[in-house]
């Protein structure tokens, strides 16, 4: 074993991690012991997705190495360990444990520097005040979040890519957000003047104030030493309690500098095309390195460098020959892309521009003089074409793909002769689709042929789409295109009885006016139905006609819970949840609930949805329990239905010192409006009285958050298995507009979504996603607005409390018996024990036999 060598990696960021992965995969560990020293208190994480940390449940979600260690004996990761010096003569590094302060000296045979970059903080007076931050690590975000609790507004200094990313974060934290940029436009590196102004208009619409072409003079502070604003040179002052610097990054090349490695003129450790530094045992990769003197602030070039060094250590031929600096991102919901020679610096190049100021779309293509090759471009407001354009780009080393006859068609909207969508079909197999992970169209097609049938599985087999995510639409289009080419249909059939989708079922019911399952089945189905199509059709009928779910022949179609208007429990008993709109309940109401639970011996628990659940009710007792509740003015809470559950509320401006609108009143109004609405899956709402968001409204299918001017409406939030934050649909709405948008949104969802598809995945599944929802709901592009509102009006007008109606109808009550031949006998299989002074179900190993009633001689 004495011939094993030691490879030390300094820095466990995105690139350092990729390097170690490559080292393990390619067998470098056969000859090397690998030691990685990382300064941060955790293993590498996805810095590109840093902003999503605010919506992540924990830091672990961003981790690139869940679990925190490599599954290989020869690889050792030490976190919270900073390398403080490098002795090239002795071939050692000195590492300091940041927790204990102990220093260790570690020898190396080969050293890889992957120390990344640090945010640049220009020498603005006042930058040392409390409340001034940078935006690079999870710790930075924790600090910003902490500070935002007591702040109302924030400023980002720097209007580049990262600055806008940081602004997005401040908006999410509920701060009035300002962006200050020295250049006359946003994203000056990627966008031209026209593209920049289009972007400003979008961003200002979202409530972010953009101050471009201004110089900062001083960050001012109040008496306590914390920031209170930013004074602009020869101009006004902006008030804010949080300031985030995002004025670019500088390579962390200090280890190289101090040990005398060659440093590039503009910073970064100078390396050759194998990422070799001026010391033959030292390599540098990622943002700390400067191949040919140039530093790259993106992750993809860093990943390439990691692969090149792994290759070089195995005497492979890999070379780093520069990188594609294309960018596509979604900033505050606005698509922005910039690629290739975006500024038309190539001799003789021509620009083709499409601009629609009203829609906020700006697209530019830069083409060669003869119009046959694409050199670069800029897309703002609609970057759908990015996926097909970028692989076409010609560079000095790559001829790209020939442009079609009329290249302008690539950027014209479809309505004006443009060819959007199916563009991926035209791409050759070599076309690179995912630039972050260097995945070509051919790789994706192979993965599909090998059995990956959806985006999720293609992602996991190829890595495409796992970094910045901008290529996911193209990945999806390639999968669909492949299916279409091979004649494979992606079946939309609901089940073996219906060859059509839920949305189509909704349409046929609407057009033909069928009111029973029987009629729908006869006209559009086969067989007798099943546990999938029966409840689906029942729900579609209920959404449109709002008949009682136990009325007519509907009862047999309902899922278990709807069938008895209660939630079945593990032992066959039921739980009872009365509606408590907005979470507001009177003392008398609470007393009634308490008395009912006591009298029927029920287990009571406060739910996660701001109301009270009573468990352990026997089916035959449900009518009596509800009799008492209905008498006291309670209604069904539909805890059992695929329908509106709760509209959670904070206490709001009626009581809260921070509140700016009456959130309880609004929550009650919304809950009463949408109660009983049968939908593809359950629906939840929330209303918060200010940006502090105590109602967690953005975790709901629809979330309403008060602003000084009205309400912001967010849609598509989800807790549960795949949590998602709701996204802004429209801002600063008055009460009536809020309700009309919500009516439209909910009815559009009820019509369109698949069975058991919550709003978040539904929005994702739409071509155009949230933008599509905005177009339909806010801009009314389909002209459906009033129709959707009328459907909702019809629902509201025909609402009746399901339990009150059941109690009033002896026929509906007939089903609430334990045994048809012994209606009064409780099911002996349901038994309880006690725990913490309340009942709980007793577990049975098998059926229980009522011994006493077995007639002698009965067969066994």
């Amino acid at each position: 074993m004495s011939n094993r060598q030691r490879l030390v990696v300094v820095g466990h960021g995105m690139v350092g991690h990729r390097f170690v992965q490559a080292a393990v995969e390619r067998g470098l560990t056969d000859t090397f012991d690998v030691v990685i020293l990382g300064e941060e208190p955790r293993a590498a994480y996805d810095r590109v997705a840093l902003t999503s940390y605010f919506s992540a449940t924990c830091a672990e979600e961003l981790s690139l190495l869940p679990g925190g260690s490599y599954d290989h004996d020869a690889v050792e990761l030490r976190i919270s360990t900073e390398v403080v010096s490098l002795d090239r003569a002795a071939r050692t590094v000195t590492a300091r444990d940041k927790v204990t302060g102990t220093e260790t000296v570690l020898g190396y045979d080969q050293l890889v520097l992957a120390t990344g970059a640090a945010p640049f903080v220009p020498p603005v007076p006042g930058r040392e005040h409390d409340g001034v931050f940078v935006y690079r690590t999870i710790e930075d975000l924790d600090a910003i979040r902490e500070a935002s609790h007591t702040a109302t507004s924030g400023i980002v200094i720097g209007g580049g890519l990262l600055g806008l990313e940081a602004a997005n974060a401040l908006v999410q934290l509920g701060l009035q957000t300002h962006v200050v940029e020295m250049a006359p436009r946003l994203m000056p590196v990627q966008l031209d003047q026209a593209g920049g102004s289009t972007l400003v208009r979008h961003i200002e619409k979202l409530g972010v104030n953009v101050h471009a072409g201004v110089m900062t003079q001083e960050i001012t502070a109040g008496e306590t030493g914390s920031v209170d604003g930013l004074q602009l040179k020869d101009s006004y002052k902006i008030d804010a309690q949080v300031v985030v610097f995002s004025a670019g990054v500088r390579p962390r090349d200090v280890l190289g500098r101090e040990s005398g490695l060659e440093i590039a003129e503009r910073g970064g450790i100078l390396v050759d095309d194998q990422c070799h530094t001026s010391d033959e045992r030292i390599w540098a990769i990622g943002e700390c390195a400067a191949p040919a003197g140039r530093m790259y602030g993106l992750v993809a070039p860093g990943y390439d460098m990691a692969e090149v060094v792994a290759d070089a250590l195995l005497d492979g031929p890999g070379r780093f020959t520069g990188a594609d600096m294309s960018t596509k991102l979604k900033l505050l919901g606005v698509d922005v892309a910039s690629f290739g020679d975006a500024f038309a610096t190539t001799e003789g190049s021509l620009e083709l521009v499409y601009s629609d100021a009203v829609a906020g779309v700006y697209k530019k293509l830069v083409v060669t003089e003869d119009g046959t090759r694409l050199l670069g471009g800029i897309l703002v407001g609609d970057a759908a074409a990015y996926g097909i354009l970028r692989p076409m780009v010609a560079t000095s080393t790559n001829p790209g793909i020939a442009l079609p006859e009329n290249p302008e068609e690539l950027i014209l909207p479809a309505s004006r002769g443009g060819s959007t969508g199916g563009g991926v079909a035209a791409l050759p197999d070599e076309a690179q689709i995912c630039s972050c992970n260097n995945v070509s169209k051919g790789d994706i097609v192979h993965a599909v042929e090998d059995g990956c049938e959806d985006v999720a599985s293609v992602k996991s087999c190829t890595n495409a789409g796992t970094t910045c995510g901008s290529c996911v639409t193209s990945v999806k289009a390639i999968i669909e295109d492949h299916f279409a080419k091979t004649g494979r249909e992606v079946s939309k059939a609901l089940c073996e009885h219906f060859a059509i989708s839920r949305a189509e079922l909704f349409e046929v019911v609407k057009i033909h006016g069928y009111t029973t399952f029987e009629a729908v089945l006869e006209a559009h189905g086969t067989g007798r139905g099943c546990d999938i199509c029966k409840p689906t059709v029942a729900s579609v009928l209920a959404s449109q006609f709002n008949e009682h779910v136990l009325g007519g022949t509907h009862a047999g179609l309902q899922d278990t819970n709807d069938a008895y208007l209660a939630n079945i429990q593990k032992n066959g008993s039921y739980s009872v949840v009365p509606r408590i709109p907005g979470g507001e309940v009177t003392p008398e109401g609470l007393i009634v609930i308490g008395e009912v639970a006591r009298d029927f011996g029920l287990y009571t628990k406060i739910t996660g949805g701001q109301r009270i659940d009573m468990f352990g009710a026997r089916m035959e007792d449900l009518p009596a329990i509800w009799g008492r509740l209905v008498d006291a003015g309670f209604e069904s809470g539909h805890a059992y239905g695929k329908s509106l559950r709760t509209v959670k509320s904070c206490v709001g401006s009626e009581w809260c010192r921070y509140g700016v609108q009456e959130s309880v009143s609004m929550a009650i109004r919304l809950e009463l409006r949408y109660r009983g609405l049968r939908s593809p899956h359950k629906l939840k709402g929330g209303v918060s009285g200010c940006a502090r968001e105590c109602a967690e409204a953005r975790g709901k299918d629809f979330g309403v958050i008060a602003t000084d001017k009205g309400w912001n409406l967010y849609v598509g939030g989800n807790g549960g298995m795949n949590p998602a934050h709701a996204q802004l649909l429209a801002g600063d709405l008055d009460d009536e507009t809020l309700i009309s948008y919500l009516d439209r949104f909910l009815m559009y969802y009820v019509r369109m979504a698949d069975r058991l598809q919550r709003t978040a995945p539904w929005i994702d599944s739409l071509e155009g996603g949230l933008d599509r929802v905005k177009a339909v709901v806010v801009d009314d592009v389909l002209g459906l607005g009033s129709e959707l509102e009328e459907s909702m009006e019809r629902h509201v007008a025909t609402y009746e409390d399901e339990w009150a109606a059941t109690l009033a109808d002896p026929q509906k009550l007939e089903r609430f018996v334990s045994f048809v031949n012994a209606p009064g006998t409780p099911d002996p299989n349901i038994t309880f024990t006690t725990e913490r002074d309340q009942i709980r179900p007793e577990n049975h190993a098998g059926p229980v036999v009522l011994g006493t009633t077995i007639p002698v001689g009965a067969s066994r």
Binding site: D531, K534, D559, G572, S818, V820, N821, P828, N829, G846
Partner: protein
């Protein structure tokens, strides 16, 4: 509408349980037969079936509350707990043939549903 009587069954073991109309069309109802909870189902051809009411997966007495339908023409009930499908004719779970719920002989006579002996599996 009449069930074939296995050899070991004698007619005096038939227990009248309810009227046919009390078993809802293409749905089920629970009955207490000789101390056991029995689920009675009626399919689209008015055929009546008697299965144990206890779902073997959930170990709860609930099967009568499941949705009744067909799979490739075969009538079945989906357990209301976790949706496992059981063939009405013999109680076999369509997704896992090793699992089976007990069934009883059943017949309709003069509009009355009668439950006979518990069947022994073939």
């Amino acid at each position: 509408m009449t069930a074939t009587l296995p050899d070991h069954t004698t007619t005096d073991e038939w227990e009248p349980v309810c009227r046919l109309e009390q078993v809802p069309a293409e749905a089920g109802v629970a009955a207490l037969v000789r101390g056991e909870a029995v689920a009675l189902f009626r399919d689209h051809r008015d055929e009546v079936y008697a299965l144990s009411n206890v779902c073997p997966f959930a170990r709860a007495s609930v099967l009568s509350r499941g949705i009744v339908g067909t799979r490739s023409g075969v009538p079945f009930v989906a357990s209301p707990m976790k949706k496992q499908p059981f063939r009405l004719a013999d109680g076999v779970c369509l997704d896992d043939e090793a699992v089976r719920v007990d069934t009883w002989d059943v017949k309709v006579d003069g509009g009355v549903v009668l439950v006979g002996a518990k069947r022994t599996p073939a």
